[in-house]
Symmetry: C2
Subunit: 326 residues, 2 copies
């Protein structure tokens, strides 16, 4: 199968599903580049993320999950910016020709693309060790993108969902154990919080997705906002499968585990009453877990006022030296 | 070095050079996504291409060349669309931490980014087998993108530069020979024909870059235009280093060799007189090599009217079965 046949196969599976064609894609797959029409009153938002086999997903991952996740991690970034998805580009590197694998991969990606109303507008297929780079494009009303830099002293820190389950699945896999099915589903088929991101316009003062772990990513948010944060450990929402763990096992998964594509955002105290309505409209749990403080640094406190120091504040490439996030 | 340190290092090298910052990049590296302002009267053009070590460049390639080429192949696609470069995103997968390699890589990329006035607006750095995916964004006046689909019967087929030298270098390397320095330069540091692409608005009826080889890519152009083409072999411009080769060695490099990032385009006969001025303005050779025919298929003819059948019409992944392009 030539590169052109591969691209055509992907195009057939991913592009001909209902809702996947927009008039704003003037020229799609099949030319040297795509020609796209961004609405004049919108800013373009662009995100890119790579998944490498053995690094970002275990070799045992089913192909539909690889396809889903490669797109999902980018949609999660669009969500964190409050952007509406429009188009995506996929660079797929495949070790060998395997039509069955490719079809499952494409179906996993196509299902999510349809749900998110995002259109495949181009890509590249090459041979080599398995990896997928997706570049996702969306748009926001000009000046309304959710940034990491707007958190203010006194704002509440809110997290969506119950971070920790994906990290639990990954930990089990690394230890050679079969993960709980619902944890594995969180790891393989993360749900990007697109509707939530769109609902936070005019409400959130700052927003980030916590793909690298709550501690690491909240650390970026407060750093870029020039503030600090105090997180109350007893307020962290506990995933069902982590309820039986003791604190020493559970907290690192909740704070430092990556691969949960939830959003962490800040809102003024005066907006707290809006959270319940947004949670219901977006069908997602929203939990206030702490407060923005004037001094820099991220502090985790127990209910009785002790300070907890996580041993590792998130996933780091190339370096697993211990770090403290406070 | 963490992913964040790596990205920061790349940002310092690539982003702080003169001419690399535009007011239209509202938010660049450092948030979940970039926020970009596309001019209201322009269409966005997006291209993406991956280079994998050992597949798209030999492991012996100097890091500056990898950085240059990863960007150049995408700029060449923008050129083929007649687009003006604006921003690019880079997903870099690195096998191990190597600051010296990374600095050279980034410098090679930064030099070309400055020349092309394109700005690094985001990216991702992951660990794994060496590969680079660049997604390049540019823009064209609405409705003026150069497509593959507009060639008309009677149009002249024009090629820029002298395709074949990069393929010669690659062939030499595969045979364990040291390539001619100028051929190696064509392979490692291709010059995207951006100025030429911009000069072809209102003139070219169709355009493509010939990264997969003149035969393969001209084949795409005529297929998408619903026409055929007749190419005169004696008109193909011969790279200096290929002059001493006999025809049987030379023609496959000129017709089927990939990695020459030249443009192939069609123009009405009435526009032939404009070519000399454009060639001078863009400092590039332009050669009329054939004519668009009404019937489908691509035919290569010798000066005495014989038909030449290339054994291979371009680079194909996964499949090297012999094909005939006529």
């Amino acid at each position: 199968m030539s590169e052109f046949d591969l691209i055509d196969r992907l195009r057939q599976i991913i592009c001909t599903r209902p809702g996947s064609v927009s008039p704003r894609c003037v020229v799609g797959i099949g030319d040297d580049g795509a020609v796209l029409d961004v609405p004049a009153d919108r800013h373009l938002v662009v995100c890119t993320d790579t998944l490498v086999e053995g690094v970002h997903f275990p070799a045992s991952t089913e192909p539909a999950a690889v396809g889903h996740k490669a797109l999902a991690v980018n949609l999660s970034d669009l969500a964190a910016m409050g952007a509406r998805p429009a188009w995506f580009f996929m660079a797929l590197t495949l070790p060998s020709e395997n039509p069955g694998w490719l079809d499952s991969f494409a179906l996993g990606m196509a299902r999510l693309a349809t749900d998110a109303a995002i259109e495949l507008a181009g890509g590249d297929v090459t041979s080599g060790p398995l990896s997928v780079t997706v570049t996702a494009l969306g748009w926001v009303e000009k000046g309304r993108a959710l940034l990491r830099s707007g958190a203010k002293e006194g704002d509440l820190v809110v997290v969506s969902g119950r971070p920790g389950a994906a990290a639990r699945a990954l930990q089990d896999l690394k230890m050679g154990m079969e993960p709980d099915a619902s944890d594995r589903n969180c790891l393989d088929f993360p749900v990007p919080r697109l509707q939530l991101g769109l609902s936070l316009h005019g409400l959130a003062t700052a927003c980030i997705d916590i793909s690298d772990g709550l501690g690491a990513d909240l650390g970026h948010l407060i750093e870029q906002s020039g503030v600090g944060a105090e997180i109350r450990l007893e307020k962290l929402p506990v995933p069902a499968s982590l309820e039986s763990l003791d604190e020493n096992q559970r907290l690192p998964l909740q704070i430092s585990g990556g691969d949960d594509y939830e959003l962490c955002f800040t809102i003024p105290v005066s907006s707290e009453a809006s959270l319940a309505g947004i949670a219901a409209a977006c069908d997602v749990e929203l939990t206030v877990i702490g407060t923005i403080t004037p001094r820099s640094g991220l502090i985790f406190k127990t209910a009785d006022g002790r300070i907890y120091k996580p041993s590792r504040d998130g996933y780091k490439h190339f370096d697993d030296r211990e770090t403290v996030s406070t």
